[in-house]
Symmetry: C2
Subunit: 315 residues, 2 copies
């Protein structure tokens, strides 16, 4: 029996991506809907409804709908409490709106949790009991599978790995926090640090000349400054993950997002740092590996969570 068809919708900061999913396969996907073209929630929602209708015309067998959103998402009550970087969304009963409009059993979930669920069910975290998922991009996010279940925390905020502190008196950040990981290894920070280090060595670059991808290529060609930067980034990520390993003793750490594409340049020092700073019990069974589902994890996970909920197995 093939897995049930469900619609997964990934609400990103800049676009909304809808698709039809069967298990881990994306059967059909529409062009992303740019959020900027829509003022306020109503207009964007109307565009999402049109997308859902068009997907269902092509795939009448769709039996559930799940949406992953960045922010504080109360999946149990189907409420968007707060949407990151998108004004005008506050305490919106989105699951009920989706259900009313489509007639489909509908759920919503935090996007990092949806991605984590997908990696655990279908990707790099499958068959493991305790999985830490981390995404390295503009921001640094995360999700947790603990004792074989998605762990959300008391106010559904768990998994904010990017806010964990590597240097208590370090770079100022959000919420009065100093030295948070995100302020060192977010995409923008990586590029700014590279610019600074090159400038100190008498090599002036604009920020556009220094994407993480270009820095990866430079390091692979032997550029010393780029190589050292990746080592430092891996060390910093490794320190935070070491803390998580001591606290949660997971089986597996799954790392996704653009920066993870640098492969061993960043995975090498991450694994080295964890291994060097934990006892054997904590690291000998631990694997630290790249995410497998790429940018589609959020969409696949949202659909999978919707199918489980529709079948009476809320995750």
């Amino acid at each position: 029996m093939s897995p049930k068809l469900a619609i997964g919708i990934d609400f990103g900061g800049t676009s909304v991506k809808p698709g039809v999913i069967s298990g881990k396969e994306i059967i059909s996907r529409l062009d992303p809907i740019p959020t900027r073209e829509h003022r306020g929630a109503d207009s964007l929602l109307a565009a999402v409804f049109r997308a859902v209708a068009s997907l269902r015309e092509k795939h009448p067998g769709v039996s559930a709908l799940g949406a992953g959103l960045p922010g504080i998402i109360d999946g149990r009550n189907g409420l968007v409490r707060e949407l990151s970087n998108v004004p005008g969304w506050r305490d919106i009963p989105l699951a009920a709106l989706l259900r009313k409009e489509t007639g489909l059993p509908s759920i919503i979930e935090n996007d990092a949790n949806a991605m984590t669920f997908a990696e655990w069910r279908f990707g790099a975290g499958r068959n493991q009991r305790n999985v830490i998922c981390m995404t390295l991009g503009t921001g640094v996010g995360g999700g947790l599978i603990l004792d074989g279940k998605l762990f959300r925390g008391s106010q559904l905020g768990a998994g904010e790995i990017g806010q964990m502190i590597i240097e208590p008196h370090g770079v100022p950040g959000h919420y009065g926090n100093f030295g948070a990981l995100e302020k060192y290894v977010g995409n923008r920070q990586i590029v700014e640090r590279a610019q600074e280090r090159y400038a100190a060595a008498g090599r002036a670059y604009t920020l556009d000349e220094l994407t993480p991808l270009l820095l990866e290529k430079a390091a692979l060609k032997g550029d010393v400054i780029a190589k050292k930067l990746w080592e430092d980034l891996g060390f910093e990520i490794g320190i935070i993950l070491t803390n998580i390993v001591w606290l949660l003793n997971p089986d597996r750490i799954v790392i996704g997002g653009g920066v993870a594409k640098a492969g061993e340049l960043v995975f090498g020092p991450i694994k080295h740092t964890i291994r060097e700073r934990t006892s054997a019990v904590f690291h000998e069974h631990l694997e630290v590996i790249p995410a497998e589902l790429g940018n589609d994890g959020g969409m696949i996970g949202s659909a999978a969570l919707a199918v489980e909920a529709a079948e009476g197995r809320p995750s």
Copy 2:
């Protein structure tokens, strides 16, 4: 109906404390058995068996037995994998030995987990869904209640809060780790730091003159060096707890052990640090409070876990 009687045994680094427990009440307790008087596991175990027999003579209604031990304890299989600070204990099937000798349903558990379970069931963490327990003593330990269950981690090592890093290039510690919390706020470290600071101010003290209790009294009398030291300790503990709050979004943090007796001197800066460095969603429902069961938490928790297991509700 009053709670069932069970024997709880707290295996500490220096002594073993056996008692008869009903719910959270200690009905009867024997003098601690000093571990130093016994060479190897067999001799100590024989003394423990005699203690159990003597307790059962007074309390024939005892229906289960639980032991809490420091180290890597495989409660599911009843094995002591490794005992902290006590040589000669390795892969000992202690639960089976206890069961065979006493005829009682017997379980074993890591002592920090037992303490955590007791505080959650009967103490400062009761009625909460997600509770972080931390003990501040010679070492710094911890335990986790997540989604209303004891969380042990993949190799049963979870909760090592004392090994979490506050300063990646800081004081060297165990397992090749640098800057671990325990190396700053363990009893010995507190006293050494006080000695150093007083010496720098021209006041020479021996280590014996500087127990945490005396430092507490000095701070309460307005001694500037002692006050600043407690602030720093609270800040350091607060940084690690801030990381845990971002990662796990708990309802409650329970802090026990000798150092926690300093009350607001240390709780003040801990709470201030967490509040200052997290968003409202994470701290407005969070309470950070002292443990309620004191040194008896391990004994009470071990007995409670034994009762639950005997009734077919393994925790």
